[in-house]
Every structure is written in C-alpha cells, then in structure tokens.
C-alpha cells in the first residue's frame, strides 16, 4: 500500500524562489503537498511541534537570516526522529567545498538553483522520482547522494 502523494517542505528566505518552487511542483506529474517557511527558525519551530508532518524531502536554502541551512542540517542530524527525511540543499552556490561539506554533514541531495523555470521543473522531477524509489523500495538512505 502506498501513499499517493509526496510531502515537501522548503525553507528559503527569498519570496520569488519560494513561488517558483511551489509553481514548479504544481506542474509535475507526481502529486505533491508543498509547505514553505521563510527561514530556518520558522522551519525548526514547526518540525519540533507535536503534530508536525515530516516531509519526504526537505529543501534547505543555505543562506538564510537567523538560522542558516547548515545550522538546520546540523540540528536535524542530531535527532533520530528525522531519520526518514531526505535532505536536499537548494542553493545558489555551486562551490565544490560547500557541496562536499553538506554531503558529509548528512545531506542527501545538492541542487544548484536553476536560472529558468523549465530546468527547475526538470530538476525537481528528477529529485522526486529518485527519492520516490528510495522511499518505496527500502533502499539504503545512508548511501543516497544526488547532485544536480
């Protein structure tokens, strides 16, 4: 028995990026429920509430005021209750150093923010498809690394 939709959360302080992201998901074939937060503090506050619905994939912008994506990642990796979530870093930076650092810290996916909507849709489609395979086939999440 499978759920027929995927829960997604994005934390990003840029309103335009949040909007593109939500729009892109609406156009994908797979049904998704997307929730967005304006920064890391809002996100972590929500994830720590009792009735929080954990997303299948959490997208984190690296540069956010108050609490950065890296701080969120560290906090999330310290708690076992978040183990089922795949973490995607969604950033304008494509420095090899950032990429390797976040993977080592436990991120599963690294996406350089695409410049156009069409590429964004393609990239998100790919993330969701592969994540869906991990999710529905019991593949080992510890080995799940994807860079786009």
């Amino acid at each position: 028995m499978q759920e027929d939709y995927i829960n997604i959360i994005l934390a990003d302080d840029d309103a335009d990026d949040r909007m593109f992201f939500t729009d892109a998901f609406e156009e994908l074939k797979i049904t998704t429920k997307v929730k967005t937060f304006n920064d890391g503090v809002e996100l972590m506050d929500y994830l720590h509430t009792d009735d929080a619905v954990f997303p299948n994939v959490l997208f984190l912008d690296l540069n956010m005021p108050r609490k950065s994506g890296l701080e969120c990642l560290t906090e999330i990796k310290q708690s076992d209750k978040f183990n089922d979530m795949a973490i995607a870093i969604y950033s304008t930076s494509a420095s090899e150093e950032d990429i390797e650092k976040t993977f080592v810290m436990g991120a599963n996916i690294y996406i350089k923010k695409p410049n156009d909507f069409k590429t964004l849709k393609k990239v998100l489609q790919e993330v969701i498809t592969i994540n869906w395979q991990y999710h529905t086939n019991g593949l080992n999440k510890d080995n799940f690394l994807l860079r786009l």
């Binding site: 028995m1 810290m105 860079r147």
Partner: protein, 188 residues
Amino acid sequence: MKLHLKFDFNALCRKVLDDKLKEHGIKHKILGFGEIELLEKLSDERLEKLSNELNEYCIEIVENQKSILVQKIKDAITNMVFNSDTNVNLKASAYLADTLGHSYGYLSNLFSEVTYTSIENFIIIQKIEYTKQLIINENLSLTEIAFKLNYSSVAHLSTQFKNTTGITPSSFQRIITKRRELIQNQTN
C-alpha cells in the same frame, strides 16, 4: 420485549474506523467512499495488525492488483541485479517476461504508469545501488565491480554512476568515509 433499531450505516462505518485508527494511535483522515488517508507512514507490522482488527468488522484493506505486479517486477529486477554473476548476459526484458508470464511491453507500460519511472531506469538505479554497497562494504575496485555487474567497461560503469548520482564513484567513496568519521567523532 422487542426493540426496533434504525441504523445509519455510513456513520457507523466511520465511527468504527475512527475508533480503531485512534486506538492504534494512527493520525488519519476519513475521506468517505471507502478511502482513508493515513497522515503517517505505517510499518508493515502495524499495518497488518490494523488489517486483522478491521477484518473482525468485515472491513478489508484492498490492495491494488497493479501494485502487486509492479512489486513483483521490482523484486525480479533486484534479484537479477544482485545475482548478476550467475545470470550471465541474460537480457532483462526476456528475463522479466519469462519470470512473470506477461509480455515485456505490458510490464513496461504498467511499471511506468505506477512508479513514475521506467523499468530501464529502475534497473540502472538498482545497479548503482549495488555498486555503492560494493564500494563501501566490500571495498571492491570499480574494475572488479564492472566485471561483476556485466558492464562492458569500467568507463561505462563510471559514466553511468556519474549520470545517475551527479558525483563520481571516488567522490562518493570519499564523502561516505568522511561522513562516517564525523559521526564517529561525535559519538566519542
């Protein structure tokens, strides 16, 4: 003495479902028309327990025939990939059609419809997963793995790894090693 009863079957069913799901502590929404949305993931064990208890009320969880066949396809592929040293040069399409007793065209269409990916893609994902395991757990070289998984060359495997994951096999190995060190340092 006789009592005359009036039933509201719809409400009755809802009440039974709601009570049972609450009893199991499962967050849910009853959608009506024989559908419930579970707001959390259930382990197979919990699902089976729930299913058994619902059966006592003659409520049955219907499994989709298509999903069952797709699961069989997946199992066959996993089996094929993870035992590739014994199934030398067997074509995947012929193997699946033989094992499952349907034409490959039918299986292929059904698979794409249900899983949002193709059989070919799924085989690649599984092969790369197996490669990852062999790199990390058995310390095999890429040359050994390419041979074991029937790749025509190391370059082919290496390219497929990079195309599928976005990183090279050696970066993959480096990242996982560093990650393990980090976790070890944190627990020490």
